[in-house]
Amino acid sequence: MNTAPLLAVDGLGKAFDGLVANRDISFKIHHAEIVGLIGPNGAGKTTLFNCLAGFYTPTTGRIAFEGRDITGSSPESAAALGIARTFQIVRVFHSMTARENVMVGAMLRDKRVREARKRADAELAFVGLSHRADVPASDLTVSEQKRLEVARALATDPKLILLDEVMAGLNPTEVREASQLVHRIHQRGIASIIVEHVMEGIMPIAHRMLVLDYGAKIADGTPAEIAENPAVIAAYLGD
Amino acid sequence: MTADILFQVLVSGLLIGLIYALVAVGLTLIFGVMDIVNFAHGEFLMLGMYASFWAFALFAVDPIVALPFTALLLFAVGVIVYQTVIRRILKAPMLSQIFATFGLMILLRGLAQFFWKPDHRLIPHSLVSGNLTLGSVQFGLPQFVAALGAVGVTGGLWYFLHRTRLGTALEATAIDREAATLMGIDGQKMFALAWGIGAACAGIAGGLIATFFPIFPEVGANFILIAFVVVVLGGFGSVTGAFLAGIIVGLIEVLGGFLVGPEYKTAIVLSLLLVVLLVRPRGLMGKA
């Protein structure tokens, strides 16, 4: 078993014209780990994702992936290294079918269209969207689009997947399905960081939880520890 | 001697720059309010020029006297364009938005050519004519009056946007559409108003320059490019920015034409557009 962390974030900060969205955040993620990332609205969760996935250049701090410094690298190279993401506000390719959406992801590793199609079909089956493969992505429901984004991200063969509120707006059955999906991603050996407001969806499956408040990490521990952490309770109640 | 020439050049640049500012404020207002670049903006100016021309040719009304009428007419054109076309593409993909206003540009040019022939027309013997001499500097009275008018209208627009209820609502929409909607401002009404005012500004500019500029269906092409430069330099959506940028562009155009050669003045101004787009896309005073 590889003990070196998959991802090591050290003192990461991000400011927008004076507004500090992330401050001095440090944590590690291990291979195949499921980590929940929670915090009140505006705590800086999406900003952190954008930094990890190369969309923002952090103002301070370092990000290392598999021991390599990737601070400030581009989204393309982050994807190539094995960091995949979904978007909080879905961004499917609306003029393409569900299958074609996933094919674009698969083409990162293999440019052949035929192979990409096979891989796409496999990932669509993995997230349970096989029956919608030929439907234009714009005709899918929002929850289907979120799953499509997961399939698309998985098709890039990531080592780490960043899921931004994939359970928002789902009914209890769907939340359970989504939790199972995350667990199956873990079984594939892929680590995941999951931003979620739906606690029922994340608490049962997460190995560890990170809590952000006003851009800073205020807690890091097992779901049970987090649930009793006074700082976390204060952050949520005081919100 | 050289100082005199330089001064002469600066005055000419200032005068034309103020006109550019007036054309551009309408464009920037529309963009600020709804993120749509109006490729047909030069055609509003063209319509303003023709309105003046016909007022003069048919009713012997001087362009300066006809200005209020030109403004009203173009306001109506702007609102009609908004209601018939723009309203339907607000949520369309950007590509459709470009094509819609681009189509409008060609439509208006085509209509002008169809009804008024492609000939260049001039308005002879207008109320203001002749030259004005100020020390060693000489410039056309029509140009001077046009520049004064441009300052007046831009100033009026500024006052409207900052000191009146309706104007503040419009300005608020331009600054933050979401917030304005939350404050209960009727977006549709503001959009239509922006188009009306934007078109009217371009129309007035057309009326002001009709006395010294040839009038033809494609005259807008000259101005839209420069208006783009002004809007980009001033920062999309900023009226004050457009005003300053208009003057800067006018000065650069005339100065560049003087130093490099008049045939290159448009190329110089367009290079400025590229430089600003690439170096500081938000312009001098634009929102990020």
Partner: protein
């Protein structure tokens, strides 16, 4: 997009039949002026298909394509006039120069999105037109004439229209095949991804700059070939005929009318646009009464307002207005959303 609705063999057969028809057409249409009309349509179609690669598939609207057209025309003509180089080689050289120009221009300009990119392309094309108009080396506004003393396939100058017809048909086929190959490969998927959601494409490892540059370069190369063809056919070029803003507009219009991002849409677009142009010219005189502009502007506006997929799409969309037709799918309301 609904690529599997028509089986591939049927499509291939259809394409071959269409090609055969086009090849045989001049046997029926023998009147030179009518052959010229067909040539104009093919020229327009070729430019439209080429524009579509960057403007349609990749969604980067260029309103300055005349610059590539002009580079093609001027390069092959200058090489012929100064070095006596065959236009076959000259056209390829023009394509090469055009690609270099596309790279130099695209590298900085592709950081700009949407409207800004469109503006930058207008500015670049306009600047080049001004520079060429004032260039002594290129004979400025006077223009360049091709020598009249030779003809034949080597110099690509013909006394009749027919050979020009087959040359431009060949160029159109080459252009369509290029677009088709792109459409079917990963590049075509990447183009559409970039057009739909650039940020999401990046998250999947797609380099926006690289693929936009590929789109612009291929398009520029093919457009330059079209420019060289124009020079050979007209035997005279000047900034007004190959570099003017009106040409950029026309190229974009053809693709827009026919259907942005469709393989053969621009061919239809060209047929429609050139027909309108020629008819209004015969009806209202050669000065251009503006009727052609009015008609195609009205069509563009209709297309933009009602159907972003062009005339082809518009015809298909008419079904929507029939009673009992299903309502429009979820529209792009989220386009208005402000994204992080």
């Amino acid at each position: 997009m609904s690529e599997r609705t028509i089986p591939t063999p049927v499509k291939a057969f259809g394409a071959l039949a269409l090609l055969a028809l086009a090849a045989l057409l001049p046997l029926v249409v023998t009147e030179p002026s009518q052959q010229n009309f067909l040539i104009l349509i093919l020229m327009g179609a070729q430019l439209g298909v080429a524009w579509n690669i960057v403007g349609g598939y990749a969604g980067q609207v260029s309103l300055g394509h005349a610059v590539f057209y002009g580079i093609g025309a001027y390069t092959s003509t200058m090489l012929l006039l100064t070095l006596g180089l065959s236009p076959w080689v000259g056209a390829l050289a023009g394509g090469g120069v055009s690609v270099l120009f596309a790279l130099a221009m695209g590298w900085p300009c592709f950081r700009l999105k949407g409207h800004y990119f469109a503006m930058a392309t207008i500015a670049v094309a306009e600047i080049v037109q001004i520079l060429v108009t004032n260039s002594e080396f290129l004979e400025g506004a006077v223009g360049l004439s091709l020598p009249m003393d030779q003809s034949g396939w080597g110099v690509l100058i013909f006394l009749s229209k027919l050979p020009y017809y087959y040359v431009i048909l060949g160029l159109l086929v080459l252009t369509v095949l290029t677009a088709w190959a792109i459409e079917r490969s990963h590049i075509g998927y990447y183009f559409r991804a970039i057009k739909d959601e650039p940020e999401a494409a990046r998250a999947l490892g797609v380099s926006l700059t690289r693929y936009k540059l590929i789109a612009l370069s291929v398009s520029a190369f093919l457009t330059a070939l079209g420019g060289s063809f124009y020079a050979q056919k007209e035997m005279f070029i000047d900034p007004g005929s190959v570099l003017a803003g009106a040409i950029s507009i026309k190229i974009a219009l053809i693709a827009i009318l026919g259907g942005v991002g469709t393989l053969l849409g621009p061919v239809l677009g060209a047929a429609v646009l050139i027909t309108i142009e020629e008819y209004s010219r015969t009806l209202f005189g050669s000065t251009g009464s503006g009727t052609d502009m009015i008609i195609y502007a009205a069509m563009i506006i209709l297309v933009a307002v009602f159907s972003p997929s062009g005339v082809l799409g518009l015809l298909g969309d008419l079904r929507r207005f029939l009673p009992g037709a299903r309502s429009k799918g979820p529209d792009m309301a989220d386009k208005m959303e402000i994204r992080p």
